[in-house]
């Protein structure tokens, strides 16, 4: 857990990092031996993993596009990871050059890397922060001055919440961000689920992540729905990743192969 007010976490590159594994799944080279080793183990147990990641990224792309269409120009992407190839700010700023994006991650390497990549981009910034400590995180965001809390902001929690245990009370944490954001703001979630796969597979996956910087917690559709309390879900509600507002570039074929729930809600 990063605490910018006090001593920073030491950086342990011998432990696999969720964000660098994610990078590896997508064919990136921003990773280290331990990340690759564990990512390969994951793929061995679940060969479709890279495709699932791609499906998640495709949802992210469609979601951001949708939000830009709704007039949202501010994005708070928490758990953004390594901004490998293209990212939210690229999608958003291509459609709306005035879009502002703040990336937040706990992984200091990911944050440092994001800062490198965003150098010169006045509309995007990265900072170190922890989703489970909303007060501190939002204070950092405030200090950054890039986002105007009076204007609608989309909070993106993509492939993040399944790393947040129940003990951390994710619904209550989300409420903090909801209360902080202005009317007309959005919440976007994608979340891994066990509901479409045999228990052995998801259990194996959980075991695997036990050694990584974050543990996994698969959740069902109903549980994911509770995260949208205080938001109005937009069409089509909570859907499988590939079935959420598919466009011409995506296929809804074999949607069950991509075991994640996706949804977007609007704060009325």
């Amino acid at each position: 857990m990063t605490n910018p007010q006090w001593v920073g976490d030491d950086i342990d590159l011998t432990r696999p990092s969720v964000s660098r594994m994610y990078d590896y799944y997508l064919g990136g080279f921003h990773n280290f031996g331990p990340d690759r080793e564990m990512a390969e183990k994951a793929i061995a147990g679940w060969p479709e993993l890279p495709q699932i990641m791609r499906a998640n990224r495709a949802f992210l792309r469609r979601g951001v596009t949708y939000l830009i269409d709704q007039g949202v120009r501010q994005f708070l992407d928490i758990g953004s990871g390594i901004p490998t190839v293209g990212n939210v700010h690229e999608v958003a700023q291509e459609l709306a050059p005035d879009a502002k994006i703040v990336y937040v991650d706990t992984d200091p390497v990911a944050v440092a890397h994001s800062k490198q990549l965003l150098e010169g981009n006045t509309g995007a910034a990265a900072l170190s922060g922890d989703f489970t400590r909303p007060a501190e995180l939002l204070q950092e965001v405030q200090q950054l001055g890039l986002l105007d809390p009076q204007k609608p902001t989309a909070v993106l929690l993509n492939a993040l919440l399944h790393f947040v245990p129940d003990e951390a009370k994710p619904a209550e944490l989300i409420a903090h961000y909801r209360d902080w954001s202005a009317t007309g703001s959005y919440l976007m979630i994608s979340h891994a689920t066990h509901e479409l796969h045999p228990t052995e597979q998801t259990e194996g996956f959980k075991q695997l992540y036990r050694n990584a910087t974050s543990q996994m917690r698969f959740r069902g559709r109903d549980e994911v729905a509770t995260f949208f309390e205080g938001y109005d879900l937009v069409e089509p509600g909570i859907e499988l990743l590939t079935r959420w507002r598919p466009d011409e570039a995506s296929s809804t074929q074999d949607a069950e192969r991509f075991p994640g729930w996706a949804g977007v809600g609007r704060k009325p």
Binding site: V7, P50, G86, N87, A112, H113
Partner: protein, 718 residues
């Protein structure tokens, strides 16, 4: 195969392996890929070079995953059936080779760039952490240095490694001083053994922290009191590595505490230890004694101090107490006795010693002797106060503080009873027959209701005719366990707590009633000052006289001289005036004991005067009065006669004394020589006077020589 189909094939491959978020136009890229493919397959083209270009284009567009190159090679392979001739087939192979080589080369470049980027990021992040750490360390150091508590770090061998500014200030040593010092050097002479045992336990790893109050000697030699708390820091293997001390300066608090504790345990007036400290010391003396240890308590009570206080005021009284305290403390010094002030004019001394070392009775006599010399009191003539001392001495083993105090109280009581100015050692045999002041106070309420009071009467005899002049009603407490108790045992206590009022009322009623059925010419009762202040007093007198149907002149109210002397308030004087107007007669009792103020005789219409029994004390011991004493007494009597007062001599026990009081001109005598006090004898015909003669009938009847040792009851006059 048409360009369009090739283009579509490329697009499919791109979609299969590309990153959906990269935001690229797959169709456009596919079209360019198809064009490059076709151009490379023309007969003169460098197919391998075109292949390399394709590979590079794919890699640059992020198609870097292993499956991407596979997909690309497959696109070219799927195109092969449409090629047709050998040359172009060869061109296609060259292109595939080039594609693989170009892609691999571009991916390699990219990989190196990415790796460098991520390493840079990692190192940047590390720098940031290091920076944060160093800032945090600097902040920490500032905090430690500015902390109001002293903080020190030492190694396990006891060398001091670090010490913050507060600690340096607290102890007066600089950091360099302290770095050259070992923890053991901070021993204070008053450290208990446990201090360094506790320390040894910590550095040996047997404990992880300790807290204690500890004093240090500062560099300048002063003492600093601290709240010390030391924690052990272990290395990763759990072995003791360092110790961290947090030291809070509590010198001021400690000084204040000592002051407060001194105040709580010392008498503010005299500076002597108070009851709390005294009892604590006594408890300690009996708590863990050796077999030969003795403990003695000397209970000291000033004689006549109340009179000093009443006659000269509290300020002088307080000064007298201060002087007495000094005198006692000084006198006790040689014996090592602890002198404390318990309350009012009560002092106490504690003596603890080994068997045979000290004689508490000797110490007590020394204390008494010290008080014999007049006290110098600021702004006053030298004052003399006497004292009575009760002594108890016993083996410390098996003794109990409360019982010792009770025994000392009893001994003091005995000393007072034996005539003041004496030392009496506690006699365990006597104890059963005595009551403590506390016990008396507890039993006083309800005394009248319980019917435990009785009156006896002692005649006052006219010295010229031998006729009974009057009788004095004397109070007795028929205690259910102790038998008859004289008023000395309880009247003073009753006066202190107002129990005297119902007792006084009972005496009045009883005496008047007895008067009515006897042949006495009159009855004397003693009235206390509290009764004079009681608003009911006059009514009580009237009612008692009415009930008994006796003349007011038959009632004589005795008031002691010391009380009269202090009647500064107009109310009691008015009460006495009214009594006299009613016809009651007024007798001044105990005349000559205190600072006889002859002027006081003028303030009230006295009828009679009773010379204090104390005047007869010296003659009782067999000695005649000196010519001076004789002359003074004679003058007093003459003076009384000159203002028409009748003079009574009290405490007459022998024929010699009878002769003496006659010589100085007394009118009336009272004492065993004439008659012992006796219960009322009801006269069947409540008429005439008994055949009282100059020779005491009772003394004769008993056949005992009147010059035997005086019994306490002789002194009784209430």
């Amino acid at each position: 195969m048409s360009q369009k189909r090739l283009s579509a094939d490329w697009e499919l491959a791109l979609r299969e392996s590309g990153d959906p978020l990269a935001g690229q136009d797959f169709a456009h890229l596919a079209e360019r890929l198809a064009m490059v493919t076709l151009a490379g397959l023309t007969p003169t083209a460098d197919a391998e070079k075109s292949g390399r270009r394709l590979g590079r284009m794919l890699a640059d567009a992020h198609f870097t995953a292993p499956r991407a190159i596979g997909q690309a090679v497959m696109v070219l392979a799927r195109y092969a059936p449409d090629v047709g001739d050998l040359h172009r087939e060869r061109q296609l192979l060259l292109m595939q080779g080039g594609l693989a080589a170009g892609h691999a080369s571009a991916v390699q470049q990219r990989l190196l760039t990415h790796q460098e980027a991520i390493h840079q990021a990692a190192s940047a992040a590390r720098d940031e952490v290091a920076q944060a750490l160093s800032e945090s360390e600097a902040r920490w150091r500032r905090l430690v240095d500015q902390a109001p508590v002293g903080i020190a770090i030492g190694d396990i061998e006891g060398n001091i490694l670090e010490a913050n500014a507060s600690l340096q200030r607290m102890l007066g040593f600089t950091l360099d001083d302290m770095r050259g010092m070992r923890i053991e050097q901070f021993t204070h002479p008053e450290d208990g053994e446990d201090v360094w045992e506790t320390y040894a336990d910590l550095v040996a790893g047997r404990s992880d922290e300790y807290r204690m109050e500890k004093q240090y000697v500062r560099k300048d030699g002063e003492v600093a009191w601290t709240n010390l708390s030391v924690s052990l820091i272990r290395d990763p293997d759990g072995e003791p590595a360092f110790q961290v001390a947090v030291v809070e300066d509590i010198t001021e608090r400690h000084t204040l505490q000592e002051q407060l504790s001194h105040e709580a345990t010392h008498d503010p007036l005299t500076g002597l230890p108070n009851r709390v400290l005294f009892l604590r010391r006594l408890d300690r003396a009996v708590a863990d004694p050796g077999p030969d240890d003795r403990v003695a308590v000397l209970f000291i009570d000033l004689d006549g101090f109340k009179f000093v206080n009443d006659s000269r005021g509290h300020i002088v009284g307080d000064r007298v107490l201060i002087a007495v305290a000094e005198r006692l403390a000084e006198a006790a010094q040689a014996s090592g006795a602890l002198v404390a002030r318990l309350a009012g004019d009560e002092f106490v001394a504690l003596l603890s010693s080994r068997r045979g070392e000290q004689r508490p009775m000797t110490v007590a006599e020394e204390l008494l002797a010290a008080l014999k010399k007049p006290l110098n009191v600021t702004g006053q003539l030298p004052v003399q106060v006497g004292a009575s001392i009760g002594v108890v001495e016993l083996a410390a083993a098996g003794a109990n503080s409360a019982e010792i105090m009770q025994a000392a109280d009893l001994a003091l009581h005995a000393a007072k009873e034996a005539g003041k100015g004496r030392v009496v050692e506690h006699d365990p045999q006597r104890r059963a027959g005595q009551l403590t002041k506390f016990q008396v106070a507890m039993q006083l309420p309800g005394l009248v209701e319980r019917g435990e009071l009785a009156l006896v009467y002692q005649p006052l005899v006219r010295l010229d005719t031998g006729a009974v002049h009057s009788v004095e009603a004397l109070l007795r407490w028929n205690h259910p366990h102790m038998g008859p108790l004289s008023p000395d045992m309880f009247i003073r206590i009753a006066e202190e707590n107002a129990a005297i009022l119902p007792i006084g009322r009972w005496v009045l009623d009883r005496a008047c009633a007895d008067m009515a059925v006897s042949a006495w010419p009159a009855v004397n009762i003693n009235v206390s000052v509290r009764q004079l202040y009681s608003p009911r007093f006059l009514n009580d007198i009237k009612r008692a006289l009415d009930l008994a149907q006796i003349e007011p002149s038959m009632l004589r109210v005795e008031i002691t001289e010391s009380v009269v002397m202090n009647l500064d308030d107009p109310e009691p004087v008015a009460v006495l005036d009214t009594l006299v107007n009613m016809g009651v007669r007024l007798v001044m009792d105990d005349f000559g004991t205190g600072y006889s103020n002859l002027a006081a005789l003028r303030r009230l219409p006295w009828h009679e005067l009773k010379l204090a029994g104390a005047f007869l004390e010296s003659s009782r011991a067999g000695q005649a009065w000196s010519p001076t004493d004789q002359r003074i007494l004679q003058t007093l009597v003459e003076l009384a006669h000159s203002i028409d007062l009748l003079v009574t001599a009290e405490g007459v026990e022998t024929a010699e004394q009878d002769q003496q009081v006659r010589e100085i001109g007394c009118d009336v005598g009272q004492g065993w020589f004439y008659a012992r006090p006796a219960p009322v004898i009801i006269q069947p015909s409540a008429t005439r006077r008994p055949a009282a003669k100059p020779t005491p009938p009772q003394a004769r009847r008993n056949g005992s020589a009147p010059n035997t040792a005086p019994m306490p009851t002789i002194q009784v006059r209430r």
